[in-house]
Symmetry: D2
Subunit: 225 residues, 4 copies
């Protein structure tokens, strides 16, 4: 498997106009520079149409934002894990709050990602779903309370108990799973708080994507580690 060194900052660029095409590439370049300058791992999740393009143009690890459980073959317009791999992905988000998946499909996608050497990051919404996710053995779980996503109010401050509660239950069930947190993260201070709660990093989006100077925000974020 592509081993992703932790702590890690995972930047999900979502489907913002500020992250489409060449703008997505510029964000990836910013991640690349910040990793070179800081030594801290950053990962970018490009828009689906941009994954291969960005993976060919940068050295920053690219994760798919989403993969679909379809068989290789006649599956027009679906995003297969094998295709993500062939396009240059090193991993994938699974079950993001904006793209929820069926329980049985999550299980199958985690297994299939592992067979392909793709790092799997399962997104969860509360403590018991994090616990359930741990039983499915993803590489990482990112706990993100949906109500805080995009708010700028960091989960590490607004709801630290959901982070520590998830960490505890996840580790009880499967100690190998790396735990991240997300939702509302936008500063180095937020990252610092997340790390202090015991996580191995953060997953974030708008705080960087919609910033006037994304690289400056990324530099601030890694300073929290």
């Amino acid at each position: 498997m592509t081993k992703i060194k932790t702590p890690v900052i995972i930047l999900n660029v979502k489907a913002y106009s500020e992250s489409m095409g060449d703008k997505g590439l510029a964000l990836a370049k910013a991640c690349e520079e910040v990793t070179e300058e800081s030594g801290i791992t950053t990962v970018i999740c490009p828009q689906q149409f941009d994954l291969g393009f960005i993976a060919h143009q940068t050295d920053v690890p690219c994760f798919a934002q989403h993969i679909d459980l379809k068989d290789v073959g006649g599956a027009t317009g679906w995003a297969l894990p094998e295709a993500a791999k062939a396009a240059g992905a090193a991993g994938t988000l699974i079950n993001h709050a904006e793209h929820r998946l069926k329980l049985a499909d999550i299980d199958a996608l985690i297994t299939r990602s592992r067979a392909l050497g793709l790092t799997s990051v399962l997104c969860t919404n509360n403590i018991q779903v994090s616990a359930a996710g741990a039983a499915l053995n993803p590489d990482m779980i990112a706990i993100e309370p949906p109500e805080l996503i995009g708010t700028g109010v960091p989960v590490s401050k607004a709801d630290p108990d959901i982070v520590t509660g998830s960490l505890q239950r996840v580790k009880e069930i499967n100690k190998d799973v790396v735990v991240l947190c997300g939702a509302g993260i936008s500063t180095g201070e937020d990252v610092k708080a997340a790390i202090e709660l015991g996580t191995a990093g953060v997953l974030l989006a708008s705080g960087v994507v919609k910033a006037t100077d994304p690289k400056a925000v990324l530099l601030d974020l890694v300073s929290g580690i």
Copy 2:
């Protein structure tokens, strides 16, 4: 709008292992060469993760295999028409047999594609659905009986009535819509039959993607025009 000159051969590479990543690029290069050599328009529909990569590397028009009706913004892992455009797409399939869409969403996606200058190709499965599609005013309708897809038995021979019936009903309702046909097309003779039935071209996949020599198949296909 990106005007696509007809007659046209549209190659949907689906999610085959033979069309992922660099193999998808090779198929696009073959299309490009065949168009240069023959003067006949070819279009490629790359795998979702490869669209931007292939659009940057070739001059063949790229159509998305599928687009999703989500708002620009927080829409992780969805394939937006705006993102297809930014990645270099000239058009898009809508409602392929392997990725059916809701009626109201098809209507909205056709409208949104037109506003972006993306050529829309609505896929349909029978005469009355083709007629319904015509009322939604896509640029093109590709009639493809699902039971013939991937069989190698061409719709133009197996079920010519569905092609002529669709053509008649579509033109009655909306004379501006260009009609293609698909399913089972793999030879120049199949293309010739499709043109003789009155269509402006074909949509095909496995006949080229899984061929030992895709370029030779493409050359045979354009010879039918």
Copy 3:
């Protein structure tokens, strides 16, 4: 087919707490009484779990709120047209704004409903979707602009052009289709306006379901005819 006499008032009770179980039965009884007293056809669309129960207890025609395109057999928890028929339904809504369906599935469900003798009422959201729907040959089309649903602002006043535009395009494509309108209807005056625009009746929900005296509202509604 169960012929539904027009003009007609179709009451969709949705999933309100005021229409569950015995409360749904009371609404059906109110429809029954109003039809007896006024001679105007009313139809009720019970909650899915209540359809058989209410169909057995009243003489008012019951329409399913929704049916699913699954084969008879191993289809746990899906609502089949054949099951609606066996439970006593006389018809069904298809593609309600709160339960949109795929284009190809709508086509297949209309055909299957007709074969079973179920009256099909296709819900649409704008003029071109109404036109597309006409090509699919349902028994009735109910045009309901989603933005007016539940507002109490009647479509017949807020957007009469969408009603007359739909009527015109539907009749051009398929003169056999009966056209209704819905969204925001709550008084006899609204019904009168809908009839004057050329429709054969209305589809409504909250105006009756959430009323203190549903029968009184129903009596007012039929007075508009």
Copy 4:
């Protein structure tokens, strides 16, 4: 909560023609008689449209085959847990192999079912999904390998390890969850084997629904306990 006494035989009548409307009621009556004669708990899961009708006509506990995660209100054609309760349901299947649900929705539906006093039976497909399910705290988990459903080859013989493995992992994570098994069950011997593996009963469908004499099959099934 409606306490369901174990061991239990849960009959899911699916969407077979043999279980629609009055035929579904006859199956419920057979369950009722068998429980009266044997003292063993049986439960029936009627077709969605029949739930209220059958719950009013029999004393056998009725479980919904499926519930949807929609808010009470404007949710046309969806099957709400509150509506199941109002129609007379004592419980519900969740995530049947033929109606899979999203992970986050399963979590929310289990919580909502408990608040309503509905017994929740979460269906799972393998050991790790059973383990994940246990973390979500349903009342019961029914492990059913999809490849055996409807085959007549009982899971208790074809794949006993999936049953014992699920039991072990479920109990490690949440000892309060009752474990059932299903798929291919059709005789008292199959039930006996399931009980001997440590389960508290079975979930089955076609073995009874499609039998010439459903009551005789039910009597045979309870004889295995």
